[in-house]
């Protein structure tokens, strides 16, 4: 059991670190869907040893996802949120929502 979970953990680590090492990626966040609690954070926002920033970001993203969810549910009860991409002038936020977790990646937009 412990071995199996450690292997799984290793795999998770490698998947996330690969994501993090992608060229344009700045930060990776994993949140809990229900409470917005931070499960993992890495990259720019985390490395500045500024915990407030991470929690602030997490809070903002979580609120955003929540309202997006409200929008989707408001339009159709049976519908569900699958992917959020927010493009800004400087970055892009990709959010993959799941019933239990949220994966958030902040990355630079490709220069056209």
């Amino acid at each position: 059991m412990t071995q199996a979970t450690s292997i799984a953990n290793e795999e998770i680590e490698s998947l996330l670190s690969r994501l993090q090492t992608k060229q344009s990626v700045q930060s990776v966040l994993v949140l809990e869907r229900q409470t917005g609690s931070i499960i993992r954070s890495s990259g720019n926002i985390a490395s500045r040893s500024n915990e407030d920033l991470v929690t602030e970001y997490a809070g903002m993203v979580w609120n955003f996802v929540k309202s997006a969810e409200g929008l989707v549910n408001g339009m159709n009860e049976d519908d569900a949120l699958k992917l959020l991409r927010v493009r800004t002038k400087m970055h892009e936020l990709c959010i993959v929502p799941d019933p239990k977790f949220l994966l958030i990646v902040i990355h630079d937009t490709p220069q056209a």
Partner: protein, 688 residues
Amino acid sequence: MSSRKEEILAKRAKLEALKRQRELRRDQFSTSRSGETEFASPQAIRGPARLDDRISDIDSLIHEIIGEGRPGSAGPSSKKSISRPTSVLSAAESNVSEQTSAQYAIPHTESSQHTVATISHQVLTTVAPRVIYDAPPTATKEIVTYSKQVQTTESWLSTGVGTDDIQVDADGEPANRSKPDEEELKDRIRELEEEIAALQSREVEQTDTLPDGTDGSKKDQIKVRELDDEEKHVITSTEEFAEFIERSTKVMERALDQDYDILADYGLGHSTTDEDSGGRKIKETIQFYSDRWSKKRIVSDIHFSPKFPELVLAAYTKNPSAPHDPNGLVQVWNLHLHDRPEYIFHAQSDVLTARFSPYHPNLIIGGAYSGQVLIWDTRAKSQSVLRSPLTGSGHSHPVYSVQVVGTQNANNIVSCSTDGLVCGWSMDMLANPLEVLELTSPSPGRNDDLAPTCMAFPYSDPTYFLVGTEEGGIYPCHRYDRAGAKAGVEPRISYRGHAGPIMAIDFHPVKGPVDFGDLVLSASLDWSVKLWKARPPAATATAVVPGAQPLVATPLMDFAREDVVYDAKWSPVKPGVFGLVDGAGSLEVWDLTVDVEVPVAKVSPTARAGATSLLTRSLNKLAWEETDGRRIAVGGLDSTVTIFEVGNELGGTEGVRGDEWGSMKKLIGKAESGGGVFGTAASAGAGA
């Protein structure tokens, strides 16, 4: 007393002035209303300081408009009474000083009674919103009016103006205002009020956030916190979490790998990069390589998914330096997911061949060095869902070729191992083969064993196939007994021409006006690719007298190359186009309708960074993307799968020239009659 009179006089004068002013303003309103609104917004934006002005402005406006239209209308007066509760009071106050200004006082009281009387009506109309946003200004106003005794004059005046308004309204000068106009005005007022409301709320926000910026984040902090290590561990070690990460990172990487910028603005100046000028160009698009899994493995087979053109599978041999990893590996790569395979499948032994089932988009069929035939399912985990046993009636030698033959409703797997055993399998059960066929060499005096290295079925007939062998011969085989011929190798005909082992055979995939279904390409280690015309099995069965010397067919065309050729495949869309890969590491694309001597295009995949020696350049396999023939995937010794995109003249369904089929037909006719025209004489000699 005289001073008092003076004061009153002064007030009168002031009132006159005010009246005039008001007149003026009214003109302004009636003439340039729209201008006013436009003007209003910048003024509003300037800050909360202006807000009160704005509100009072609107108040008076409302008075003017609605009050005039309907003298008793509740809206304005209630507003008045709420926003400036002084109006009634001051009216009463003015009654006290009535003796001098009776002319004003009388209408005054009237009007104030009006207001008092109509307050109750008012509630019905639009009280609620007004109450909300008028509340804050009230407070400030009150302070101004009551805190200073000296300013009673002003307060008196201001109420005077107010009452004056009403007075005029009551007097009924409103005749010149039409109803629709009034409604329009009401709309405008509503707009303005909304504007103010928005402004106020913004103001509130500002006051919320500006003075103590932590306020907003404080709220978040209550909800969001960083879990401590123990909690994190509990969550991250759940299966659920692992699954989520697996799934979501895949989605994320696809999103990140999407090169196309959907926000691209083509209007902006872009440097005109080299657009492929010729339709015969080949462009390298992606290379697939995974450090974890691909390392030191040789690509043994490649196949594009017929259902999802972006998926391409690659089969790999073992990694000699990683004994703990499974020997056999199949990775399914996605053109939209650049540095990670979509799926990974394992096998106990080197996978030598693998392909998607054309009839089951989820199933992948493979053949292993151990002789196993395996089926993987993309819906399942990395282990195969079905595999044939190592012992028993199946293969006990390496399986270099598997095919799925039949139709949507009736299909089988046919596999072929190097000991000459051909097995047919059901898709649902690999415990035992449905049919077993042992191929033996037809010509007496030779080694009895036949060692097939590859196998190909014509697209029209699932009962007959060609096998290429290690000694260089190509033999037709029947799967079943048929009139005049037993199941197994057809003894009366063989295709000889190659001096080395055959590495690949490919039937022409006809999808056009002319039937080229009998054209066969073969690639061999004797540094050549040959084109054959396969005789239909029925013809050979009747035309040849039993006991006669076996007929030896010679190739129609011979393409001598500069290195060993490992694979050759027809384009799925263009009648005269095929691709080949060789031991020197180049991919060549030929178009027989253009040139039969030299390839129309030749490229080599870029060497992977860190690739060590020249020996690893060799390419092993090639696959065309089946739906529109635009992409070619190649792979070889350096464990990398490289995808090329071909130009319009070599691939793509829309670019097919009408004369291609015709000229191909002419060419084949010429080759059939002319024999040696294309240099087949030499190879025929070699074959004999």
